[in-house]
């Protein structure tokens, strides 16, 4: 017989049908079904193939702890692998395939691995990937050839290659109280906290909150527990101060009571609504946290415990009570505790035959006996299941006597199609483990309980080891009152609970050691880790719990030991002859369950990538500029679009600037207002040269060093009044310089009265360069003259261009007579267009970054390519800027021996003698052998074709610097397959006297 749908019960809507596809075959289910429940209702037993051995696997659990039924969800060509079938809500059009099988789930070639079980045991990779140590392949990389096939044969699902088109979102939330888990304890805590006026977030990973109330069969306040939970949820939902987050897994607990959660917003829908994300990632900052995350039932470890049809007892109850699915027709129960007897009674009431109850304990309580009687089942006390039979579905179990943990006697064979097992319960302490210290072992419960809190959280319910509904409600009441800061609650505030009084404490036996050769007994189902693997790890010396985990993969990866932790530790404890707490446990890591990468990366790509645009951006684009991403900024590279190559375009732009006039957008330069009575003193301290002597309405070029004496940044600073300076920085370093200056003021010189403000975006900037630059300004600037007397080199004037106030500083990066025109950014386009109009009679050309770079290379001006964090002011021949009259940041360290060495690489010019380009990063060598990649004496920092010189030139940093002027060397650029002769010259290629920019 197969699993089947019951005629009544569950929270599914039998009046409606949903069609979905699994492995290409169409199935139907009902609203409320998970993929697991719907497939079970369709008679399916086989859900997947195991990790290493490709063993047929059925459903083990019914919740987030399911390790076997991992499937791949398909959306078009997009694949999302390794999703537990128990966590997938079916919807119309859902398409799913099984994984880790070939060619099909039923007939899997990988099952041959079962024959090589011994080879694939613990440590397989570590041993195998060392390669053959004997034979003809010894010392070869043979294993690398095998690796591809080995990895394909073992594994989980396959990720797709197509981009994920879904939308993801991040969300921030603040609350007084975060309650994780909406079972009886969590609901009660949320209710009490909310009624006390606290802002509460209640998160639960299931689509329908209620936790165990949905399937316990208990009665609360005269209502079926599920109805009580529903009523409580509705009451909470009606409160403005409560945010309910169903389908939300709190997966990480971080410092400062900051928790991470993943909300699955639309996975259960055929299509999202407009603007709805698939997943929403929540960062929740909570004043207090109530951890009510429940517990996981543990499997028992015996040969054949992974056969489809063998499942956790609680899973069968959930399938029945939530989804109306009866897991089998002829059912056995194998347990070490009373609580599991509920499952036998429940399934019997649903029409299943309970063939037997196999209990490891020699004595069984009267309450459990009463349940067995209700189920019509015999109890085999002091027995254990020692084996199972069946191919892809359970057919028979073997039961033997158990004496002091050893199997004895002849097996009794019992025909069943479903075996329920229960090894007791492990509280889901993962979040507490992340947030705190080592968990505590509870001998009675044979379980690890949460550690003492190191942050403001409180545990409640099964999480705290209080499994009964009444105890959970009492915990929730107390926790809610505590986090609300109120008085301890009166007992009368507790709802009345009607339930069976069952002893939850299990017998301390988790694994049945077979008396002879028997099948594999699995501890970690997801990673195919067997009891024998754990024992082998012990034999091979991996006895520490940390080594055990890594050597066997027990409890690793997405599973995080939800079902396997305690049984694995118990087997190691037995092997070592010590107790479980002496073995200890590993700390659980985030995430508690897998988190989509999309949710973590949400909203920072494509059109949502933050970028910076200058006020003239649209003009550049409309004028045919090829835009270049410079950090977050977009800057024109060249204004092409006339069939020109990039080189042709920048050569044209640079040549036109030298011959006439060019204009470039310099709005991206970092700009910092330095204000206050101590501003000049401050600048003296941070720049290598003096600024306190700078007259008002004058600018000066400045160099900053790092505190270790290396060059940091350069730029001009304009004195606008006695106490106001406008500092400019390189585009790339604007943020870093601002941060460094703030550090100086906050930490180093807090006594200085200086205020810093980023005004990079306040000002639009246009640099006009070339012999006709003054003519252009003269044609459009009002309110001031721009002649040499009024506006000398490094002078500043204020005026207007076409009705817009502007500030003009005469300075030059290009080596030409040049001016920087600044105006309010909102007027940037207007002023730019006015300058272009005024420049028409002089054939003004806009130029981009490439021409800007060409002009500065020709002139020998340095920028970030040379101020690269490794060069000093002296390396760049900026010695003249290093004041000897005052201390400044970096001055104490700049004279260190290593920074003054004559053999340091220093700035030079390079001319290609073979008329070929010189690429940045290429090495300079003295030998003439292209095959020899050695003996570099320096490297090219930036190169270009110089229209002024008619040659390919570059700036470079070369050992000895100017001592090599006039010598020959070679450029060696093996990555770009470039080798050729060069001449080392002065870095001042063009107009070294500076006559063009003065006068």
């Amino acid at each position: 017989m197969s699993p089947r749908r019951s005629t009544e019960g569950g929270r599914i809507d039998r009046g409606r049908t949903i069609r979905f596809s699994f492995d290409g075959k169409s199935y139907h289910g009902h609203p409320g079904d998970t993929l697991a429940s719907a497939l079970m209702a369709n008679g399916m037993r086989l859900f997947g193939r195991s990790f290493k051995y490709h063993r047929p696997r059925g459903l083990l659990a019914a919740g987030v702890d399911e390790p076997n039924a991992l499937v791949t969800v398909l959306k078009g060509t997009v694949r999302e692998p390794n999703i537990a079938a128990t966590q997938i809500e079916i919807h119309e059009g859902l398409t799913v395939e099984s994984q880790n099988r070939f060619p099909s789930l039923d007939v899997d070639a990988g099952a041959v691995n079962q024959l090589a079980g011994g080879l694939l045991s613990a440590g397989f990779y570590y041993k195998t990937f060392m390669g053959p140590v004997v034979g003809p392949l010894r010392g070869t990389r043979f294993w690398m050839a095998c690796e591809h096939f080995i990895r394909r044969a073992a594994g989980l699902g396959r990720a797709g290659r197509d981009a994920d088109p879904d939308r993801y979102e991040r969300m921030n939330a603040f609350c007084d109280v975060l309650v994780t888990g909406a079972g009886p304890a969590g609901l009660m805590a949320a209710k009490v906290a909310a009624e006390a006026g606290k802002r509460v977030i209640l998160a639960d990973l299931e689509p329908v909150p209620g936790g165990s109330a949905k399937w316990s069969g208990d009665t609360i306040d005269g209502l079926p527990a599920a109805a009580w939970a529903q009523r409580t949820i509705e009451a909470l939902g009606a409160m403005d101060t409560v945010r309910l987050l169903p389908r939300t897994t709190v997966w990480g607990y971080y410092d400062g009571n900051t928790l991470a959660a993943l909300e699955r917003v639309t996975d259960h829908k055929p299509a999202p609504d407009k603007g709805e994300p698939r997943h929403r990632h929540w960062t929740i900052r909570a004043g207090a946290v109530v951890l009510a995350t429940g517990a996981f039932e543990r499997p028992l470890v015996f040969p054949g415990n992974d056969r489809p049809g063998v499942m956790l007892a609680d899973a069968a109850v959930r399938l029945l009570r939530e989804y109306g699915v009866v897991a089998g027709s002829r059912v056995a129960l194998f347990a070490n505790n009373d609580d599991a007897y509920r499952a036998a009674a429940a399934l019997a009431e649903a029409g299943a035959t309970i063939a037997t109850i196999v209990d490891m304990r020699d004595t069984v309580s009267s309450a459990a006996r009463a349940l067995a009687e209700r189920a019509g089942a015999e109890i085999l006390a002091g027995h254990a299941v020692s084996g199972t039979k069946g191919g892809k579905a359970l057919r028979e179990i073997a039961v033997q006597r158990l004496r002091e943990g050893e199997i004895t006697g002849q097996p009794r064979r019992i025909a069943v199609d479903c075996l329920l097992m229960s090894g007791g319960w492990s509280p889901a302490i993962h979040l507490a483990s992340q947030a705190g210290t080592a968990p505590r072992w509870d001998e009675a419960l044979q379980a690890f309980l949460p550690p003492a809190p190191t942050q403001n959280w409180i545990g409640a319910g099964a999480f705290a080891g209080h499994f009964a509904t009444a105890a959970a409600l009492a915990d929730g009441l107390a926790a809610g009152a505590k986090v609300a800061g109120g008085k301890p609650p009166r007992k009368s505030a507790l709802p009345r609970v009607e339930t069976l009084e069952l002893d939850i404490a299990p017998a301390p036996v988790f694994a049945i050691r077979p008396s002879g050769k028997a099948g594999k007994a699995f501890v970690d189902f997801q990673h195919d880790v067997t009891a024998e693997d754990v024992r082998q790890a012990h034999r091979e010396g991996f006895v520490s719990v940390e080594h055990l985990k890594r050597y066997t993969t027990l409890g690793m990866a997405t599973d995080q030991g939800k079902t396997s932790n305690v049984p694995g530790l118990a087997i190691m404890a037995e092997a070592r002859g010590i107790t479980v707490p002496e073995v200890g446990t590993t700390r659980f890591r985030p995430p508690f369950t897998p988190v989509s990468l999309g949710a973590l990366a949400a909203e920072r790509y494509g059109e949502l990538r933050p970028d910076r645009l200058t006020p003239m951006h649209d003009w550049h684009v409309e004028s045919g500029a090829t835009m270049y991403a410079a950090g977050l900024w977009y800057r024109p590279m060249v204004y092409g679009g006339r069939g020109e190559t990039v080189e042709q375009a920048y050569v044209r732009e640079a040549a036109a600037t030298r011959a006439g006039v060019g204009i470039v957008d310099v709005s991206t330069l970092g700009k910092i207002m330095v204000q206050g009575p101590d501003a000049a003193d401050f600048l003296d301290r941070v720049y290598t040269n003096k600024f306190s002597t700078l007259p008002v309405m004058k600018a000066r070029y400045g160099l900053m060093l790092r505190e270790d004496g290396l060059a940091y940044d350069d730029g001009t600073t304009w004195r606008l009044s006695q106490t106001d300076f406008l500092m400019t920085t390189t585009t790339a370093n604007a943020g870093k310089v601002m941060q460094q200056l703030e550090y100086y003021l906050d930490i180093v010189w807090p006594d200085l009265k200086v205020a810093l403000t980023s005004v990079s975006d306040e000002w639009a900037g246009a640099a006009i360069a070339g012999p006709h630059s003054r003519d252009v300004l003269a044609a459009c600037v009002a309110g001031t003259a721009v002649d040499n007397d009024t506006l000398p080199f490094m002078g500043i004037v204020r005026g207007e261009i076409d009705g817009v106030p502007v500030m003009i500083c005469r300075l030059s990066f290009s080596g030409e007579r040049a001016y920087e025109v600044y105006c309010g950014a909102g007027h940037g386009l207007h002023v730019w267009e006015a300058l272009m109009e005024a420049g028409k009679p002089f054939a003004i050309v806009p130029y981009g970054l490439e021409a800007l770079g060409t002009l500065r290379i020709e002139k020998g001006h340095v920028t970030g390519a040379e101020i690269d964090g490794r060069t000093t002011g002296r390396d760049l021949y900026l010695d003249w800027m290093l004041s000897k009259k005052k201390p400044f940041a970096g001055s104490m360290m700049m004279d260190r021996e290593g920074l003054c060495d004559d053999d340091r690489i220093r700035l030079v010019g390079i001319v290609a003698l073979d008329d070929r380009p010189l690429g940045g990063g290429a090495h300079i060598v003295e030998h003439n052998d292209p095959a020899e990649i050695r003996d570099s004496i320096g490297h090219v920092t930036a190169g270009c074709y110089s229209p002024a010189l008619g040659k390919y030139i570059a700036l470079a940093l070369v050992k000895g610097g100017k001592t090599r002027h006039g010598t020959r060397a070679f450029v060696s650029d093996p990555l770009r397959k470039r080798f050729g002769p060069v001449e080392i010259v002065s870095h001042h290629f063009y107009d070294p006297e500076g006559s063009r920019m003065h006068g």
Partner: protein, 195 residues
């Protein structure tokens, strides 16, 4: 006077953009104030600076980061210890503040072009903002007039609650178009109107 150009460019698309349910629960707009000015006091001179701001704007600010006031066309709030942002729909606020705040009291920095003022109004304003900023936007912790300085990815933002369901955001001009695009994207779920 020449009208400043909005940095939003083609991303500014007035109209209604309802969600699947046909709702437009949010109005997004650019308020384009004439003046956005930062004033900073030297330690111990905060009260003098606050008095100076009041003398010019009529807005009485409490001492301390976060406190603020909104009054029609004018608004101001503290965003850091001793630092305030003052906004006026009219131009000239920087000059007016500069005239009453001397160098011994603090500094005045005109940011009228450097910051772009965006407004979110509607019952879902806090929901949409929570997608961007790690701030508690509830009325109790972020009351009317209060302001905060924060950032979204690389985008620095100053935010003031200017109504029960209304927030004014001041972002760096160069980031404004990117942020606006992200804001519209984030508002698709609730539906929105631009205008």
């Amino acid at each position: 006077m020449v009208e400043p150009v909005s940095p939003l460019g083609a991303a500014w698309k007035p109209g209604a953009y309802p969600n699947t349910a046909g709702e437009t629960g949010l109005v997004l707009s650019e308020t384009r104030p004439g003046s956005i000015v930062q004033a900073a006091a030297w330690p111990g001179r905060e009260k003098t600076l606050i008095d100076a701001i009041k003398s010019v704007t009529g807005l009485a600010l409490a001492d301390g980061a976060g406190a603020g006031q909104v009054d029609g066309a004018k608004a101001a709030f503290g965003f850091a210890p001793g630092k305030f942002l003052a906004i006026d729909q009219k131009e000239g606020l920087a000059a007016a503040l500069g005239a009453v705040i001397d160098v011994d009291t603090g500094t005045v920095t005109d940011l009228s072009h450097g910051r772009t003022a965006l407004r979110l109004a509607g019952p879902k304003a806090d929901w949409v903002l929570a997608k961007f900023f790690a701030l508690d936007f509830s009325q109790t912790t972020f009351p009317l007039g209060a302001g905060r300085a924060t950032s979204h990815h690389d985008i620095f933002a100053q935010i003031q609650r200017s109504g029960a369901e209304q927030f004014d955001l001041y972002v760096f001009r160069s980031f404004a178009r990117a942020f606006w695009t992200a804001l519209c994207h984030a508002s698709e779920e609730t539906g929105y109107t631009v205008g």
